[in-house]
Symmetry: C2
Subunit: 155 residues, 2 copies
DNA sequence: GGTCAAAATTGACTGTGTCAAAACTGCCCG
DNA sequence: CGGGCAGTTTTGACACAGTCAATTTTGACC
């Protein structure tokens, strides 16, 4: 089960190391993890696969190195919502966007209707050559919204 | 010349203090300043107005308090582009967006064609009640773009 | 299996921002 | 026009996220 991950790494010109495999598998099913969350998930448990893949030791610096290498290889993507440490996800290359709850910080992916970056053009590009439009929607998720606002007020 | 600022503060329910006036005036002509930049600008010089307004002492904590108070009063706005400390600006309430240079960090305002938040709706709001769409365009400014890319390639 | 560049670890360190308690000061009131 | 006090600011310690540089370890090719 680790074989595909190893090959994925090598096809991107990266060595297959236990640390890199661990970060990639730790991200499965845990989109938008912070570095600290990944660190805990990797250090305090095996990778949950039940197979031979036990977790390696992983230093903080090592984690940051891995995250940068994987980002540069476009195997993961990093987002930095205001007020949050950097978060990482496996969804890459589809130029999707994010919905963030102002209260609990929950993050939801939002498909990009255009699909490729930049999906949106500014009215005036001020001479920039733009390669990406990053969109973050802010609001309250269903759980955090006060009951009185669950339905839009009718005035 | 300080009178209007004082009144502005009071009309928003905030006391007019030397520190708050200094932050507001330090932001004039210096949009997208970081807290550190404001701190230096206020501590190391008078306010540049040439009038009686000399700068007060301002502690770091005091600066952060002021920035939070002014933000809550909607007198300033805070943005946090990925990879940058928080930045502050006086343009408020027009739901404008930002263009950021990946190389030098230069930030340009981009008018919002819709004008009021949220100017954009996600395809699926996942049950959130959305109040703002924050858009950041990423690219290279004219100064940072390599010469060969100054004109779009013609293939 | 040997070799060596690539990758990981170690430990100190920086920048940005926060907490809590004490001191100060605008501004209202008499 | 001076007292009083809630609202502000200062002080100093601290936390968090991330970075730097030097050393050690390791993956993968021969």
């Amino acid at each position: 089960m680790d074989q595909p991950v190893s090959e994925l790494l090598r096809t991107r010109g990266l060595r297959s190391t236990a640390q890199r495999r661990a970060v990639l598998t730790a991200l499965h099913g845990h989109a938008h993890s912070t570095a600290a969350e990944l660190e805990h998930r990797i250090q305090s448990a095996d990778d949950g696969s039940g197979t031979s893949g036990t977790s390696p030791r992983l230093s903080r610096q090592g984690l940051y190195n891995v995250l940068e290498d994987l980002s540069r290889a476009a195997l993961i993507r990093c987002i930095e919502p205001a007020g949050s440490p950097a978060r990482y996800e496996l969804r890459v290359g589809d130029n999707h966007h994010h919905l963030v709850c102002r209260s609990c910080g929950r993050i939801k992916d939002v498909d990009c209707s255009v699909g490729r970056a930049p999906c949106l053009e500014p009215g005036d590009d001020a001479g920039f050559s733009i390669d990406e439009a990053e969109i973050t929607w802010w609001g309250l998720c269903a759980d955090c919204r006060p009951a009185t606002a669950q339905r839009p007020p009718r005035h």
